[in-house]
C-alpha cells in the first residue's frame, strides 16, 4: 500500500519550477517603453564578475538607481573592493585621496574624494575631513 502511494507520489514528482521564486521584478514607476526593450534586467547583471568591468560612475548609478536589488548589493561590493567607503550620515561614498593626516581609534582625518550624487553627480575633493568610524558602514 505504501509503495503504491510512493508510486503515485513519483507520478507527481516535484519539478525545478516548483521551488523557483516567482520572478518578482516589478518596476516602481513603469514607463511605457517599446516591447522590444528588455522588460527585466538581463541575467548578465547577476554575475559579480561583470561588475569589475564597470567604471565607478556606472557603479554609483546602479547603487543609487537600483535600490534594494541584488545589483545594488554587487555594486556596493565592487566599490568597497576599489577602496570606497560608505558614510552612513552623508549617505555617500568616500575614498582616501592620500594617507590620512590623523588616525585615531574613533576617526581618521585627511583629504578625501567623495561622490556628490545630489547636485553634480560627480566626484569632489574634501580636505580637512574627519571620517568618524561610527558612520562607516
Amino acid at each position: 500500500h505504501v509503495l503504491q502511494m510512493l508510486n503515485l507520489s513519483l507520478l507527481n514528482m516535484p519539478e525545478p519550477s516548483d521551488s523557483e521564486r516567482p520572478k518578482t521584478y516589478v518596476p516602481r514607476n513603469p514607463y511605457p517603453t517599446p516591447s522590444s526593450f528588455p522588460q527585466t534586467p538581463a541575467s548578465v547583471f547577476d554575475a559579480p564578475a561583470v561588475f569589475e568591468k564597470f567604471d565607478v560612475d556606472t557603479l554609483f548609478f546602479i547603487f543609487y538607481y537600483q535600490q534594494g536589488t541584488y545589483q545594488q548589493y554587487l555594486a556596493a561590493r565592487e566599490l568597497k573592493k576599489q577602496s570606497w567607503r560608505y558614510h552612513k550620515k552623508y549617505l555617500t561614498w568616500f575614498q582616501r585621496h592620500e594617507e590620512p593626516k590623523v588616525t585615531a581609534d574613533e576617526y581618521e582625518q585627511g583629504t578625501y574624494v567623495y561622490f556628490d550624487y545630489e547636485t553634480g553627480w560627480c566626484q569632489r575633493i574634501k580636505s580637512e575631513f574627519t571620517f568618524e568610524y561610527g558612520f562607516l558602514e
Binding site: N12, S19, R21, P27
Partner: protein, 520 residues
C-alpha cells in the same frame, strides 16, 4: 472543506470567496503596489477576518482551500499525464499570508506582536496541513489518484520558507521560532504518515532556506531537530525498503535524493554527521554500505587527516588519536531498556560474575532467534567507551586491551553469536572506524585483536568481509576503515595472506590483490 463547514462556515464561505477573488485580482496586477496591499489588509482587519477565533479560522481555511483548488483544478483528466499546476493562486495565497504576518500592528498590546505573528503562522501551517492530510486520504482511501498533488503544497511551503526565513528586520523578532514551527509541520507530514508527500517532504526538509538555517542556529539548537527529521522521518521510513535487495523505482529516487542531502551535509556540516553518526548508523540498514560510509567519512573541518597510505604511519602517535569523539546519541539507553545495563557495568567493573558472559547472547537476541541490531550496536559502543575510560584512568594503554573484561565480552559475542549475529556485531565495531579519535583507535585494535585471536578461520573471514565490503563500494571510505585494513594486510602478525579464504576463488584472489594494490 464544504463537507466540514457548519452553517456559520457556509455563511462565512459566501463572504470569504469574494474576498479571495479580490485578493487574487490585486496580486495579479502588473504593477502591484504597497498601497493596494495595505487597503486590502485593512479591510480584512476591520471586518474581523484576522482575529484568532472561528471567523478567522474560516477565512484561513476557505482561502487556503480556494487557492489549492484553483491550483490543481487545472490538472488534466488524462490519468497517465502528469497533472499541471497553476502557481498563481498559490503564490497569491503565500504572499497574502506573508503580508498578514508582517503587518501585525507594531502597537499590538504589551509587546505581544511576535506572539501574534507566530500564532498566525502556526494557524496557517495547521490549516494547510489539515488540507493536505485530507486530500491525501482522499487519494489513499477513495481511489482518487488526482485528489492529491504534492507539488501544490511544496510550492506553498517553499514560498513561505523563502519569504519567512530571508533576512528581514520585520521578522527577526520571531526567529528561530519560525524555523521551529516548520520543524513541527514537517514532523507532522513525514513520509511514514503521508507516503504520497515523500518527495516534496524531502525537498522541503533539505531546502536551502531551511536545513542550513536550522544547522546554523546559535548553540547548535537546530541540530537535534534536523537529526529527528532525518532519522525518524526519512531513514525510519526508507529502512524496510532499503533492506530489500531490489529497490523499487520510487525508493531508488528517494535513495539518490537522500545521498545528495547527505553529501551537502558531509561537505558543509560534517560535524553534524560526526556527532550523530550513531543515530544514523542505527537507522540505515547494513546493506546500504555506501550511504553509511558517507556518514562515517565525515570529520571535523579543522582536522587535517593524515594520509592513511603513508608508509609506517604511526597511528597511535597522532595527537588527535587521544581525543574522544563527541557522540550525542544516548546509546546506553537501549541497554537499560533491555534490562541489563546495570549487570553489564557491574561485570565491566568487577570482571565478574562469569555467568553474565553466558547470558549475553540472550540479551541481544529476540525470541525468534533474530538479533536486536540496535542493542548490539549500543553494547559495543558502551563497552568500548567504558574500556577507554578505564584505560585512561589506569594509564595502562595497550595492556588494558588484551585480558580485560571488555575484551572478554567482545570475544564471548564472537564465539556465541551465529553468523548473522556476529555480522551485526562486527558491523557495530566497524561503524566506529571513523576519523582519528580515541574510539577509532580502540575499535581498530579490537577488530585486529579479534582477528588475531580467532580460533576459527571463518571468523577471520567474516571480519575481512566486513572490512572489504566497505572498501569495494564507491568512495568515500572512512579513514579508520582504511588504516585498519592496511594494518591487517601489511602487519605480518596477522599472517593475512596465509589464510585460505584469500585464495578461495580466482576472482576473490584478484579482488584482494586489487584492494591491496590500491591500499599500498
Amino acid at each position: 472543506v464544504d463537507g466540514e463547514l457548519d452553517a456559520a462556515g457556509l455563511r462565512a464561505r459566501e463572504q470569504v470567496l469574494p474576498l479571495w477573488l479580490e485578493w487574487l485580482g490585486i496580486y495579479q496586477q502588473q504593477n502591484q503596489s504597497d498601497k493596494a496591499y495595505a487597503a486590502y489588509l485593512n479591510t480584512l482587519h476591520q471586518n474581523g477576518w484576522m482575529r484568532h477565533n472561528e471567523r478567522g479560522e474560516h477565512f484561513l481555511r476557505i482561502s487556503c482551500h480556494a487557492a489549492l483548488s484553483a491550483a490543481t483544478d487545472a490538472a488534466t483528466t488524462d490519468a497517465a499525464a502528469k497533472p499541471a499546476i497553476a502557481f498563481a493562486p498559490l503564490d497569491a495565497f503565500s504572499k497574502l499570508i506573508l503580508l498578514l504576518i508582517k503587518s501585525v500592528p507594531a502597537e499590538t498590546a504589551d509587546g505581544a506582536r511576535p506572539k501574534v505573528q507566530l500564532q498566525l503562522l502556526t494557524r496557517v501551517l495547521s490549516v494547510t496541513i489539515h488540507h493536505l492530510i485530507r486530500q491525501h486520504q482522499a487519494m489513499q482511501y477513495e481511489q482518487r489518484p488526482h485528489a492529491f498533488n504534492q507539488r501544490a503544497y511544496l510550492r506553498l511551503f517553499g514560498s513561505w520558507l523563502f519569504d519567512l526565513n530571508a533576512p528581514d528586520p520585520a521578522l527577526d523578532a520571531i526567529q528561530p521560532q519560525i524555523l521551529y514551527a516548520f520543524c513541527s509541520a514537517f514532523n507532522a507530514l513525514k513520509p511514514s504518515r503521508l507516503p504520497g508527500f515523500a518527495f516534496a517532504w524531502l525537498e522541503l526538509v533539505s531546502h536551502r532556506m531551511f536545513m542550513p538555517k536550522l544547522l546554523l542556529l546559535k548553540g547548535h539548537k537546530g541540530w537535534p531537530l534536523l537529526q529527528q527529521l532525518l532519522v525518524n522521518g526519512l531513514f525510519a521510513f526508507l529502512q524496510p525498503f532499503l533492506a530489500a535487495a531490489e529497490l523499487s523505482p520510487p525508493v531508488r529516487v528517494l535513495y539518490r535524493g537522500a545521498l545528495r542531502v547527505l553529501l551537502v551535509l558531509l561537505h558543509d556540516f560534517p560535524e553534524f554527521l560526526c556527532d550523530y553518526h550513531f543515530f544514523f548508523c542505527d537507522a540505515i540498514p547494513p546493506s546500504c554500505i555506501q550511504m553509511r560510509n558517507l556518514i562515517l567519512s565525515a570529520f571535523p573541518r579543522n582536522m587535517r587527516l593524515p594520509d592513511p597510505f603513508t608508509p609506517n604511519l604511526k597511528v597511535d602517535l597522532l595527537p588527535e588519536i587521544a581525543q574522544p569523539p563527541r557522540i550525542l546519541a544516548p546509546f546506553s539507553n537501549a541497554l537499560a531498556r533491555n534490562g541489563f545495563l546495570h549487570e553489564l557495568d557491574a561485570f565491566l567493573t568487577n570482571h565478574s560474575p562469569y555467568s553474565f558472559l553466558r547470558e549475553l547472547r540472550g540479551h541481544v537476541q529476540n525470541a525468534d532467534g533474530t538479533h536486536k541490531a540496535g542493542v548490539i550496536s549500543a553494547l559495543v559502543l558502551h563497552v568500548g567507551a567504558h574500556a577507554i575510560a578505564s584505560m585512561q584512568s589506569t594509564h595502562a594503554a595497550s595492556a588494558g586491551l588484551a585480558h580485560s573484561a571488555h575484551m572478554e565480552i567482545y570475544q564471548q559475542l564472537t564465539a556465541d553469536l551465529n553468523a548473522e549475529g556476529r555480522y551485526l556485531f562486527l558491523n557495530a565495531i566497524a561503524n566506529q572506524l571513523r576519523y582519528p579519535n580515541n574510539q577509532t583507535h580502540y575499535f581498530s585494535c579490537v577488530l585486529l585483536y579479534l582477528f588475531s585471536e580467532a580460533a576459527d578461520e571463518r571468523v577471520q573471514e567474516q571480519i575481512t568481509r566486513v572490512l572489504v565490503e566497505r572498501l569495494i563500494v564507491h568512495r568515500p571510505h572512512p579513514w579508520g576503515l582504511l588504516i585498519t585494513f592496511i594494518e591487517l594486510i601489511k602487519n605480518p602478525r596477522y599472517s593475512f595472506w596465509s589464510k585460505t579464504f584469500t585464495r578461495c576463488a580466482p576472482e576473490i584472489e584478484r579482488l584482494f590483490e586489487s584492494v591491496a594494490r590500491s591500499c599500498m
